[in-house]
Every structure is written in C-alpha cells, then in structure tokens.
Amino acid sequence: MKLFEWEAKAVFREHGLPVPRGRVVKDPEEAAAVAQELGRPVVVKAQVLSGGRGKAGGINFAGDPAAAQAAAARLLGMMLAGEPVRSVLVEERLDIAREFYLSVTIDPALPAPVLMVSGAGGIDIEKQAATTPQLVFTQPVEIARGLQGFQVWNLLADAGLPPAAMHQGVTVATELFRLFRQRDAELAEINPLALTTAGSLVAADAKLIINDNALFRQPWVPRTRAHFDHDLEYEAAQHGLNYVKLSGSIGLLCTGAGLSLATLDLVAREGARAANFLESGGANYRNAYHGLRLVLGDPEVKVLLINTFGLVSRADVICRGLADALKELGTVKPVVAAIRGTGEEEARRIFWEELGIASCPDTESAVRKAVKMAREAQ
C-alpha cells in the first residue's frame, strides 16, 4: 500500500522525524490560507501516487499567498501520469544547502532490510546505483539484532554528512529504521533529505509503502478511493481481492497469480486483450461471488474466461462457488472454462449439469475459444 506524500509525512511527524511545516489542502483558497499562516515562500506539491511528479510540473514554488493560490488552482484537477490531482501539499520552502538521499528498503536476495544513504539527494537512486555506485552506501540490517548506532555512524560518515550534522543524521536514520520496522514498511524513503543553510536536516519529500501482507496488523493505513487507480480496483480491495483493470474484452477469472499471468499472455498472443487481472484469493463462495461480480460488472467484458487448476483451493470447491455465483448474478455474457485440478471430475459435472458449460481440455484451447467468441460478440 503506497501512501501519499502528505500521509507519509504525517507518519514521519509522529515518529519525530523533521518535516517542513505545512498542510494538505483540496482547494486554492485554502492553499493561500496555509501560505499566509506560514508567512514565507512556499512550495505547492501535487499529491499523486505515481512517480516523476517533478518533471511533469507537479511541484510549484510560490513567493506569496496569491501565487500559492494560483499554483494550487493550476494543479488541482490536473492529470499527472494518468492520475487526477485531488489535493496539494502546501509547505514552507526550505533554504537548502545540500541534498542527501536516505531510505530503508528490502533486499530480497539477502534477504534483509537495507539502510541506504547517498551524498547526492533528489536523484533517481536506482539510476545512481547503476551509474555511480561509489556514491551509494548501504547497510544491511539483521532483523533479530536491529540497527546498531555505530552502523548508522559508519554509513553517514562514509556518505559525507558534515560532522556538525552527524548527531541529527544518526537520530533521523535510526528513527526512520524504527518507523520501517514498526509500520511494516517495504520502503521508507527521504529523497531529498535536505541539509538547510541553517545546518539542520529536514525530510523535503517522504515516501512510504506498507507491506500489503501486514495490513491486518497496521489498521491505521489509509485505503481510500484515491489510493486506487480504478473504481473496480477499490471495490475489489474492500473484498480482499487483487483486481487490476485492463482495457480488453475478455474477463478473466483464474486461480493463482502465475496461471492468471500466463493466461493474460496467451490472450494477447491470440491478438485479443484481457479486461482485467484477477487473482481470486480463496475457495469460498463470497470470494467467487465478488470476483465474478467485478469481472462481469465491467461493461467492456464480452466473454468470461474461467481457468482453474485447483491446488490449495480444490477445483470442486471453487466450481461449486462459481456455479452458485453465476446463477445468483444471472449473467447473459458467454462463459468459457478450463477446469483442472483436485476434484476436477466433480467440478466439470457441476458446470455441465448446472450451467450447461463444457470444460475445455487445456488453457490454450479455452483461450482460443474465448477470443473467437469475443470477436463474434463485437
């Protein structure tokens, strides 16, 4: 779950991390009011989840409240990388002497959390790690032991943090790691970490991604409509489903992420496009019902393609749920199915006897049949 900058900064503030003064607003008048309160030049930042906001013109400086209002008016409602700007963050403009990069992320190959620092901030860290790796300093952290103070000292000194800023830097990095651990983050990033002309460190930007698997123990994580790209994706999340809206005519309902991806590819190979990616998490009836409702509720869907290879979820249990849901939803759209896995005889019997749907013998034939039917339906 990726958070908006203003949400991440609110979490940072709770952890005592230094962030610029400011507030998130939803209309231009409020932006002017915040600038007035701050009483100094401000920066007005579009709040979107996608990257590359700065280059796309999403960050504006404003010398006075009127300029802040104008900037907010320009940004609000604008589209940035396909995402509407629903709010802007108005913050004091910092007097920056130098920029650093600081983050805690995960190295899956170790595997371990890694504290990462660079003396060049405000940059694309992945690009920098590729081109000038000597400027990027990393410290993997053993989870059982935690981050040790001296590891932070080593790293910051190596990255060239000036001696006068070392004590604050150690505090900031230590707390950022604590936040990462306590909040079940996948990424906690400050880029740039600004060293002001007055000599203090401030998180000019903030990025926070919370691990989806940990949401059950992180109830504070916001999950509003704005956090999703599409109404259907938002609705799917309410039911614990992972649904991704695509633009095609074949609605997909497959068991397992890998088989879903492969089916997606096969549809494309046949020259058609899938309407969605959907991993139907479990075997139970409500999941099947909500998953089907989402897929069939998409007006672009012409044909429904069901592809199961029952595993943890047994084919008979899945197909029982799907058959009941199909009957309840009473769809008129055509259905193609490939049913395999544990309990497949019973599963095929249910589909044939109750719905009149014959299972295809394999994925390829089912995909070809679905694509053909979708073409005919257009």
């Binding site: 899956p108 053993e142 991806l261 590819d265 595993l311 395999r340 544990t342």
Partner: protein
C-alpha cells in the same frame, strides 16, 4: 534421500488440526509423506488421520525423530511457528502459509541462515517427488499432470506449475523433484539455491524454471549459470510479458519497477546464459524433447 529432503525425513505438520490442514495431511500421507507428528498448542493428545498431536514441535520431536516441518498455520502466527521449527532443530521448513508480512519472512529466513537450515516458501505450493512424497498442495495424484521422471521443476507459482507439469507429462517425461519457491518477493529458497542441488541430483537430467514478471530471481539464476556454467540443460518459461508496469499482479513479487523485473528482459538474460526459453507453457514439452534427445 532425494533433493532438499534431509535423511531420515520424518515430517511434523504444524497447525495440523485446522479443517483444511486435515484434508491436506491426508493427501500428503497418501502421496507418501512420512508425517510422524502434528503440532497445535492446546491440542496435545488429539490424533489426525492416525498422526499424534503435540503442543509444540520440541515435544513432538522428543517422541518422533523428525527433520522436516510443514507449516499450515495462519499468517498472524506463521512467524512464531517457523521460528519454533528452526529452534527445535528442523533442517527443512516447508512454509505453506500465504500472506505472511514480509518483515516476518526476513526474520525467519535470517534465523534459518544462522542455523544452516532451509526454508521453502512462504506462499508456496510446497515440494513434491512424484511417486515418492509430497509436502504441500501439489496434486501428484492427477496422473495427466504429475508423473515420476527426470525433469527437475522449480517455480514461483502454484497453479502455473501444474500447467507446466502437465506439458512435461504430455511430452512423455515426468518430474524428478518439484520445488515451489513461493510467490512473495522475499522467500527462503531462490532459484540460485536450487540450481546446484538439481545439478548434483542423479535423478534429474534437465531443469525447468517457471518464472514470472517482477523481482530478480530469474536474473540471478541466469547470472549464476553464465558465471559458472551448468552441466544440465535448462528450459524456462516466464509469465507476465503483457502485464502492465507498476501494478501488483497477484503475487506480491510480481511488480515491475523500472527496467528490472520485466518478463522480456528476464527472457533475454536467460537466453544469454544458454537457457531455452518457451514462449508459451505448452512449448516447454517440445524444448525438453530437443534438449533430452
């Protein structure tokens, strides 16, 4: 004994008394797994399909020699269960649980490294030696899909492994050992950990790698083969060529970020390492026939 499985090979199933666990315990037993005990705190004294239940792994192990733990407990308790297995001295932990917080996974894999034990998973269909044993959710009893044979199979996905296995069988071969690495971004056993084991396994003549978009396990495997060479032919299939960027596609590991992790770039590096890459799952069979002539 066979690949990944410690000698002796007694198995303890943690979380054995759950409804689904009972079903899969019975399936594992009938597929040949030597399950000697089950564990559910508070249920010591119960019996599941003839398997005695204990409060803890350690208590189970006092009475029943065992080296392998199969974990079927819910995500919220999965970390403690895995640490318990490692602490009790288990050499292999098959961590079937889905939805484990990534920081818990790191803690457990870190502990396993320190103890020189192996963890397969989490979020894995488990592992299987068709005709011999099965630890997890692999339907080895479907003989159109799984048969004993000479192909080592490793995969990040569950259902897709079945799909590919069925094409291996259709091409006239079978599987020596199957290991599901798991669909999460952080897992205990990666392709590079399995490559040397398949290379040394006399029952394995060729290896099939089933990858997907996101992460870097396939790139690591390619790099390893390129640096070191590999004594057996390798065939790969990568799912998700047409997945959109920046979106999570089911598996938490399946996010493409920047240039790394794309299915086509994975295919490229694998080809550069001499791996035969199948464009569709069904092509795996033909490529195997080519390399195993």
């Amino acid at each position: 004994m066979t690949l990944m499985l410690p000698a002796g090979g007694g198995v303890v199933v943690q979380g054995i008394t759950g409804r689904e666990s009972r079903f899969w315990t019975e399936r594992m037993l009938s597929a040949g797994a030597r399950i000697v005990a089950g564990v559910t705190p508070g249920k010591e004294g119960e019996v599941v399909h003839g398997v005695p239940v204990y409060h803890t792994v350690q208590r189970a192990r006092r009475r029943h020699p065992a080296e392998v733990a199969v974990i079927l407990v819910p995500a919220a308790f999965a970390k403690e269960a895995a640490l318990e297995a490692l602490e009790a001295g288990m050499q292999l932990v098959v961590w079937l649980t889905d939805g484990v917080p990534v920081q818990d996974v790191m803690a457990v894999v870190g502990e396993a490294r320190a103890r020189r034990a192996s963890v397969v998973g989490p979020n894995t269909p488990g592992l299987a030696v068709p005709g011999h044993t099965m630890l997890g959710f692999v339907p080895v009893w479907l003989d159109q899909v799984w048969r004993p044979g000479c192909v080592g199979l490793m995969s990040r996905s569950g259902t897709l492994s079945n799909e590919v296995a069925s094409h291996i069988v259709a091409a006239g071969y079978g599987v020596s050992t199957f290991v599901g690495c798991g669909g999460d971004p952080v897992v205990g056993t990666r392709f590079v950990d399995l490559l040397p084991q398949f290379e040394q396994d006399p029952a394995t003549r060729a290896v099939v790698l089933v990858g997907e978009v996101g992460g870097s396990m396939e790139e690591e495997a390619a790099g390893w083969i390129l640096r070191r060479g590999y004594a057996k032919p390798v065939v790969a299939y990568i799912a998700g060529r047409t997945a959109p960027e920046g979106k999570r596609m089911g598996h938490a590991g399946a996010i493409i970020a920047g240039s790394t992790g794309k299915a086509v770039s994975k295919e490229e590096v694998l080809r550069a390492a001499g791996v035969q890459v199948a464009e569709v799952p069904a092509a795996v069979g033909g490529l195997l026939q080519g390399v195993l002539q």
